[in-house]
Amino acid sequence: MSRVAEFLTRRRGGSGWDWTDIFTWVWLIAGIFVMFGPAVWLVLSSFKTPAALAEFPPTVLPMATEQVMVEGYDNPLELYSVSMPDGSEQVLAQVRRVGTIAQMVDPDAPDEIVKVNIAERTPQRRVAFATENYVVPLEQNDFLLYLRNSVFVTVMATIITLLTNSMAAFALSKYRFRGRDGVMLLIVATLMVPLSVILVPLYSVVNAVGLFDSLWGVILPTVATPTGVFLLRQYMLTIPDELLDAARMDHASEWQIYWRIILPLAAPALAVLAIFSIVWRWNDFLWPLVVLSRKELYTLQVGLNTYAGELNVQWHYILAMTVVTMIPVVLVFVFLQRYITAGIAGSGLK
């Protein structure tokens, strides 16, 4: 703790405050708000009821008005703090509201109705988490199914991506053949073609091979990534050829060289590509939306979209499920950020 304190109070100008200290603090705190603000807002809002979401001005924490059961009334009544004409403060339950006048009762003396101008009362509120935002989509809607589909797509696509891309990278980095550089150039050139351009032809192909409306139709078109091939190839170029020669002298077949020498040695690059692939496939929206039409095949991102109807957007569910979909990506970043930095620095990609 003392080291933390020492770190936090460390100042550039020795004992006094230098202007750079103040600037640094302001800058970093502003950075925290800019970076963390939206995420924190999302998480807090995901616990708000639809009414609290629609409220203006919005509150930071999810709030709910306190309710109480009063003798003689069937439904729970909302509690308000009221300034009485004699200047005292009293907590009353509201029975009904007529125009600017609220009819209220004292929960301890439920027989007597007190009429109060609505300007004289403020709701009694406390922090309350609307967990049903999470429970309802996960239990009653198909969100667990969507989650399973998303996990399946992400895991399978990542495994196949690593396998195929590393094979291509191995061939393009360790074998000399005519047109090698041309092939590499062609692969990298496809980086310049965005998905939206090839969406229609890709759809035709997927439809023609019978993969329409299947999870494999989501997985297979995405596994060959130029980024992955490029990243792995650049890394494999740094593996010395003498190792391959030594393995050849050691009776290793070309497949064994790939499987037992190249793959283990390319592990850092494979880790980077795995992270990228997980994030890409998890966050994919457009392509799954195009390919999948049966609801039970939806991935999380497509499933989220079902809450945005033409006339009514169920913001509380969207917010809650957005938090759910964020969790795996956040975990990936928390545990593997070391590799991500290394990967971005090493390949110049992001």
Binding site: P240, A247, M249, D250, H251, S253, P264
Partner: protein, 364 residues
Amino acid sequence: MGQITLSDIQRAYGNVKVLHDINLDIADGEFVVLVGPSGCGKSTLLRLLSGLDKPTAGRIEIDGKDVTQVSAADRGLAMVFQSYALYPHMSVRQNLAFGLENIQMPKAEIAERITEAARMLEITDYLDRRPGQLSGGQKQRVAIGRAVVRNPTAFLLDEPLSNLDAELRISTRAEISALHDRLKTTMIYVTHDQVEAMTLADRIVVMRAGRIEQVGRPLDLYNTPANLFVAGFIGAPRMNLLPVKIAEAGPQSVRVEGAGGLSIMVAADGSALQPGTDATLGIRPHDIRTGTGGDGSFTATVDLMEALGPETVAHATTDDGQKILAVLNGQDTTKAGDGISFAFDAGRTHLFDAEGQRLPPPRT
């Protein structure tokens, strides 16, 4: 058995020929060192032998069988690489076992061979470490161990000592020599260091620009270099090469004259030479002494004296501008700038004709 024959080996990369008609016979159990300056094709030749690269033309035979088109794995050879090429993600034990597992050798036999090789090379204590945790010398032993467990017909070693520091290089050199004595397996060793070549080899193959310049026992190469290149390459410090002119040429002896009144009779067959043509006289620095008595002598000015203790290396310039190196016994007190007289014997000189070839010995 490990008898290897190379016939008319050529290798070209595109239009660039790096090996021209290499012919070489290597006897079983022989320690052959390929030596030459960098780029002379010695490593390429070793790769052709190993099978990692194929010759453009020519034949390679091992024990009488043509293996020119046989793959590297099936030639029964083992190679030690300059960078050791140990698999960094495997332990030392796995490194040694990799090649044996690939030929489906029984596990018990693999373990036995590893134990034996580890004991011989004294690497038993770190069999479970990764190469990254080993020092350079230890890595070197593991690399040799990986070759030894294969029980090969011949070892190919590609500059195995070049990544070690000077002290370790000398001790490892002695160990390789001892290993060869024990295993009695053919070894083909590539180096650019002529000291390694001289100390290790049964026979040295001196190469330059894709051609073999001379093949012979180390002392034969030192005593009778076949041409100017070998004369300059073998022996440290380098042989002094003085430009001379043929004065008289006969089948028994040749008299040459050089600058500064140098005139000397060398026993050689000069019957093919014309008087007046250019020639080169070679004198090893160790064959020069101070003083005036001798078959030849000259005076010079000392540029630098390197006192090594038991001997002193004198860098001097003769009166007509010729640089001379001399290794003087003991500790000499002459200082830079002083004049000095050198003498040498005709019997210790080497005479090369205008093409740089050594003159044949006198006719009998």
